[in-house]
Symmetry: C2
Subunit: 456 residues, 2 copies
């Protein structure tokens, strides 16, 4: 590594650069199934201006940089580059402004979704996008994340109003505005949303918030078989019920979650977690419809969360499904899929996934934002057994083909990273040349998270 480069960076960052193996190791991968790759060093810029200088230097020396937030990505987005640096965003941890009367706020990139909601809680507003992990809002923006409430409140694509981004050449730009809508030129905001750190490093995010509903009611309903549970979710959506959450856990997942999250009063059966947001009256109307549909599909009586604590327990269990699966063994890894199909195809697609895995002896816990047609299978495997990974990847290939055949997408919310590059070529072969043109013009030296999304 060039001496001049290191001298420049050390001069700039002082103690905010670390060559320690443990620090590099802590920034060598996300929560994905990849082997860690240690960067040459981890940099900790303190603000936009310092990050701008770092990128100018790295661009000059053509050295790769990977931005790192909470490290909760699942597709290999933040796996390090042994020829370059990882940039920790941990100093970008401030909430810049909250305008509850306008339902918007601006945060630095490393503010986590829970941190934001904790700060908002007395202001009558909340931020509804909730992936399982307590991810950073910058990372959620970069991966175009969503979560359990997307069915009602949208995704990062629809809730990000504007961004501050530091570009490969060090330029600092601000996209969007605080206005609720805009047609002012090309939509750069939505180009950076989902660009996975390859077009610029997001340092600030302007977000739309939602009013905290007058009444929130959560219930659990269990079903004799998977098809009945999924069909119920499908019918709820097709009926047009404005449900806030409708989450599926299959039998294997319930098995694991009952143990991990101590859901003593539930059985190992396919299960839907519901949540209703509205006034008491409008919730009652929605609940009546959902109860009827559930019953028609042989669903159990609803188990209601009696208070906020019980409600939080249900949703914490749901958010922790990935960690519950990881806790199944010490030396295991978890391969997580993420496909999304039109709602009328969701029953067939989930059935396909379960049938494909049934005879393998592998546990196949599944969870789904089924109201969006989106679901995940978390397949547990032993990394020392190469055949297991190969088998799982072959299953994943078949599931991807099935989703595409059904007019769906290869990823509803996890992004491409390293793991889905070949699938992106399948879904959007005709889009890739344009994506590459954009990448080349924004980052001509290919320093920003190279090798992620696609290969140049």
């Amino acid at each position: 590594m060039d001496r001049g480069l290191l001298d420049d960076l050390k001069g700039l960052l002082q103690e905010r650069i670390s060559f320690s193996e443990s620090v590099r190791n802590n920034h060598a991968k996300g929560e994905d199934a990849y082997d860690p790759i240690l960067p040459k060093a981890v940099l900790f810029p303190k603000d936009n201006e310092e990050l701008s200088k770092i990128l100018k230097i790295c661009n000059q020396f053509k050295v790769p940089v990977t931005a790192y937030g909470t490290g909760t990505s699942l597709e290999g987005h933040v796996v390090g580059n042994d020829e370059g640096f990882t940039i920790s965003m941990e100093n970008f941890n401030k909430i810049i402004s909250i305008n509850e009367e306008d339902f918007d706020c601006r945060v630095q990139a490393n503010v986590s979704r829970e941190q934001l909601n904790e700060t908002l809680k007395d202001k009558g507003v909340f931020f509804p996008i909730d992936p399982g992990a307590n991810a950073s809002l910058g990372g959620m923006t970069a991966c175009s994340a969503s979560g359990t409430m997307a069915v009602r409140y949208g995704t990062m694509r629809t809730t990000v109003l504007g961004l501050t981004v530091v570009l490969a050449n060090g330029d600092i730009i601000k996209t969007g505005s605080r206005a609720k809508k805009t047609s002012a030129g090309y939509n750069l905001t939505n180009l950076f949303v989902g660009s996975e750190g390859t077009l610029g490093i997001i340092t600030e995010v302007h977000l739309r918030l939602s009013p905290i509903p007058e009444s929130i009611m959560s219930a659990v309903c269990q079903f004799p078989d998977l098809d009945s549970a999924v069909l119920t979710a499908q019918e709820i959506i097709q009926y047009g019920v404005p449900i806030a959450r409708v989450e599926l856990l299959n039998k294997d997942q319930m098995d694991i979650s009952i143990k991990y999250s101590k859901l003593e009063n539930l059985e190992s059966l396919p299960t839907l977690f519901y949540e209703f947001h509205g006034s008491e009256l409008s919730n009652k109307e929605s609940i009546d419809v959902v109860e009827e549909i559930s019953k028609n599909n042989n669903g159990s009586e609803f188990k209601w969360a009696a208070n906020t604590e019980e409600r939080n327990k249900i949703w914490k269990a749901r958010h922790n499904v990935y960690y519950s699966v990881k806790a199944e063994g010490d030396n295991i890894r978890v391969y997580v899929t993420d496909v999304c199909v039109p709602i009328s195809n969701i029953v067939e697609c989930i059935r396909f996934a379960e049938t494909e895995l049934q005879d393998t002896g592998l546990k196949a816990p599944m969870v789904g934002h089924v109201g969006d047609g989106n679901f995940h299978v978390s397949v547990v495997y032993d990394p020392s057994k190469e055949n297991q990974y190969k088998y799982i990847r072959a299953f994943s290939n078949r599931l991807i083909d099935k989703a595409l055949e059904m007019d769906g997408t290869i990823t509803g919310e996890h992004g491409i990273g390293l793991q889905k590059k070949e699938y992106l070529l399948k879904q959007h072969p005709d889009n890739i040349p344009l994506m590459k043109m954009i990448k080349k013009s924004f980052d001509p030296n290919n320093i920003l998270n190279p090798g992620k999304v696609f290969d140049i």
Copy 2:
């Protein structure tokens, strides 16, 4: 114009190319205040493949092309180029598929919003984005349009799921999918939404639909002064009422609309048009809140639309405001503004606009999607009096400055076209280099609607 170019096009298009002056004149501008500029010819491709061949030929000869839908744009987007061709999209008029069970459909670009809703009406779903004009869905996509229901249902940015686009080099690409959400690579769909025909020609649009609500109720409320009306709208939004429409018409606009649309039972006063979508019960809850807020701000008793016909009359009057203003004289033109600010600034911003125009003697009809913080002033002027235009442009400059000062945007829904290029430089000076990079890589010969959005 090169002989070879014309021979190639005539050979390809046969009778689907017109050099007639009247046809060229009919495709020389939109509903904007510009002088018409006649293209060399108007081309009428019959399908994607023919359009692809046209663009290949024009790209080879470096000749400009402007796509033309219903010609209802307001900012000069479709003003012709006297060195090039206008491409009429009129043959792209088919609804390709409707999947009511998935709330989506695919249409060719020149299908109009009313044509789509007419076809959908027995299927329990509708398409909610409604600019005043009966615009084409391709044009609405290209301009990132919205309308009276954006406050509840979003804009083209949030409802377009995918596109077919013919690129400058003739490549035909398909973006997005039928899935409700996706994180598969860069979001090209939202890059083409709002690109105003400068990055590619949109030929097919995949749209999200909404369920037709069980109950729809419309009411009109009149106020003694403008501030009271706008404040009412602001408070309704800040309260979190899920209102479907909340539209402002100021005194001057009501004056004109009462005559033009025969609203005999209304007075020339600042007015809000409301609409509620939901169940009867949930609408009743919303209405109670809105009535209370309106009353507290000295609003009149609500005048309810008794049936579908009366409801349609109200909304037709609202959609026709631009035509009503145009009908004010024979040789007049109308300069339309379009700014959007955070809701907490809407009272001050609208007051500013009215005060600025008060002493000029010019009529200043105003309408607003005030629930979004978005409003328009339609200033009538005599094009033979140069000073009038200059005066209006100076007013527009001041309003733009005010909106930007208030964290707003220079256009909520009309786009940039020719008229707002200098304002785009004000709002996003740091974004322009990136926009130009994208333009140059997608359209290296600058043949696609050159001179619109920005100058290369």
